[in-house]
């Protein structure tokens, strides 16, 4: 028997979205957006990250119609609790910092035309927004409904990245705020 998961599926509207997978999570963006998985860029893998160790990358760079640059990092503690919560904000901040540092060189030196064009767009961004997508295991404990308080992480990221984005946000599948994309 055929199961339609949602009205969107039924109408076949999923083709109207741009989808991409990060760590097993499916992100669906409006078609009008430009999306790129930055850590797949040839410029990043073959050139920029080879300058020295520890150069990092955010998972996704997205561009909406109002020229806002969205830098999206995904952390799924259900699968991979490697990063300590105290280090998480610093890791995100470093990834954002390293990614931003790569954009001007990519605009000038990337050999892949798509990467070059995306970097050119980034250079013309009107606004930068940082989003951490943080999934956590469900906790039974009443004291810790979630092991990590997203508000703590959000506040620490805000402090670290204040000059980049004074209002970064931390979201999860079940609470995407008013963001234009969805995650399954």
């Amino acid at each position: 028997m055929n199961h339609w998961h949602s009205l969107t599926d039924f109408l076949g509207l999923e083709v109207m979205m741009i989808q991409c997978e990060i760590d097993g999570l499916i992100f669906s963006f409006p078609v009008t957006w430009k999306i790129t998985k930055y850590d797949d860029w040839a410029f990043y893998r073959n050139q920029f990250s080879r300058m020295w160790n520890e150069i990092k990358a955010v998972d996704l760079i997205a561009f909406d119609l109002s020229s806002t640059l969205w830098m999206i990092e995904v952390k799924d503690y259900r699968k991979n609790p490697r990063t300590k919560p105290t280090s998480l904000p610093y890791e995100v901040a470093k990834k954002v910092f390293d990614t931003l540092a790569a954009m001007l060189p990519a605009k000038v030196n990337a050999s892949d035309l798509e990467e070059k064009e995306m970097a050119e767009k980034v250079a013309c961004a009107q606004k930068i927004r940082i989003v951490l997508h943080l999934e956590q295991p469900h906790q039974d404990s009443k004291k810790f409904r979630r092991a990590i308080d997203p508000a703590d992480v959000q506040q620490q990221i805000r402090k670290l990245l204040h000059p980049v984005d004074a209002h970064p946000i931390v979201v999860e599948k079940s609470d995407m705020r008013n963001l234009a994309w969805s995650v399954k």
Binding site: L88, I148, D149
Partner: protein
């Protein structure tokens, strides 16, 4: 309005300069970084000026009067054994220098004292006039329950309580403000009374009560959180905090549950935009976030808020300041909350998704 304080060698402070906001000033720091000392210093200077205006026969400030009264006030508010004890301790003798600048420079004052000072400060710059505004100081503890006869006992005996308690009890006992200003008072009082579910009343017998639809409850039977709100409500009702003035509040969050802290945050902002320059010292991440939420809305558009992060180092406390909480360095309560998540995840918390 206090514009700026310059401190050299006071208790834990080596050298600091703090520039205050017109409306709200939030001091954040771990235990022992001097938050309360900062509040007490500012309060003492303001209180001396107001008291002297009432008591002194001199229409203008005089050096002699200030030398003695300021020293006495500092000792009584800090409750140190002598004045010199609040000078920052290093080897050998040291001097503590304090300068306060006001929006109206006629109130500017500068003074100093040394480790061996007992009962006098040295006045470098004397204010040109007395202040006619009583500053209000709310300590971490509520005072409504100890109010009956407290001032009389305090005056008649040596008690180990700080003088701020006596001063605030005096303000709590003030007469209710009537007349033109009543409407403004009602606006400020309404949310507090809603939170306490009643009004604070000072009976002729000298005790406080909470009045509500179910009757009159003596204040010691009322929840501690409500008593703290009651203090603030009373200061508003008596006009002690109206239009112009100063409120110093040490850890407003102490003994309050989150629902009340939310109300307190709003009351603090409302007071600060009504013309009171407010100084609070806090540990509470919850309170800081409430401020953040309220300030990001449209209701407090032009509010002038400053944050101060006090950070202890071996060579004295360093102050980081800015217009947002993001600019004042690490916040211990935030770091600790994340560190607790580290430890909790270390337990291998249950996971029913796998």
């Amino acid at each position: 309005m206090i514009k700026k304080v310059t401190i050299r060698n006071l208790t834990v402070f080596a050298e600091s300069e703090l520039e205050f906001g017109k409306n709200l000033n939030v001091i954040i720091g771990e235990n022992g970084t001097g938050k309360t000392h900062l509040l007490k210093l500012l309060y003492s200077v303001l209180a001396v000026s107001f008291d002297a205006r009432k008591k002194s026969h001199s229409p203008l400030p005089t050096k002699i009067l200030y030398q003695l009264q300021l020293a006495e006030k500092l000792v009584n508010v800090f409750k140190s054994e002598s004045l010199g004890r609040i000078v920052r301790r290093k080897q050998g003798r040291e001097r503590c220098d304090i300068q306060l600048e006001f929006l109206n420079s006629a109130f500017d004052i500068a003074f100093d004292f040394a480790t061996q000072s007992k009962s006098e400060v040295n006045i470098e710059k004397i204010p040109e006039q007395w202040s006619n505004i009583a500053p209000a100081y709310l300590p971490t503890r509520e005072l409504l329950t100890i109010y009956p006869n407290f001032v009389a006992v305090y005056e008649g005996h040596y008690l180990e309580f700080e003088e701020t308690w006596r001063d605030t009890c005096l303000l709590l006992g003030g007469l209710l403000q009537k007349g033109l200003k009543e409407k403004k008072i009602r606006t400020l009082l309404a949310p507090l009374e809603e939170a306490m579910n009643g009004q604070i009343e000072l009976d002729k017998n000298g005790r406080f009560y909470l009045n509500n639809s179910s009757g009159r409850i003596e204040i010691p039977l009322v929840a501690e959180g409500y008593r703290k709100l009651g203090m603030l409500a009373r200061l508003i009702a008596t006009g002690a905090l109206l239009e112009k003035g100063y409120l110093f509040w040490d850890e407003p969050e102490a003994n309050l549950n989150p629902r009340i802290i939310k109300k307190v945050a709003k009351s603090i902002l409302d007071l600060s935009v009504s013309g009171i320059q407010v100084f609070i010292a806090t540990h509470s991440l919850f309170l800081l976030r409430e401020f953040d939420i309220l300030l990001s809305g449209k209701s407090y558009g032009n509010i002038d808020v400053r944050f101060f992060g006090l950070h202890g180092f071996s060579d004295g406390v360093q102050v980081m300041q800015g217009a947002s909480v993001d600019e004042v360095g690490d916040i211990a309560s935030l770091d600790e909350s994340l560190a607790q998540s580290d430890r909790f995840l270390g337990l291998g918390g249950h996971d029913d998704s796998m």
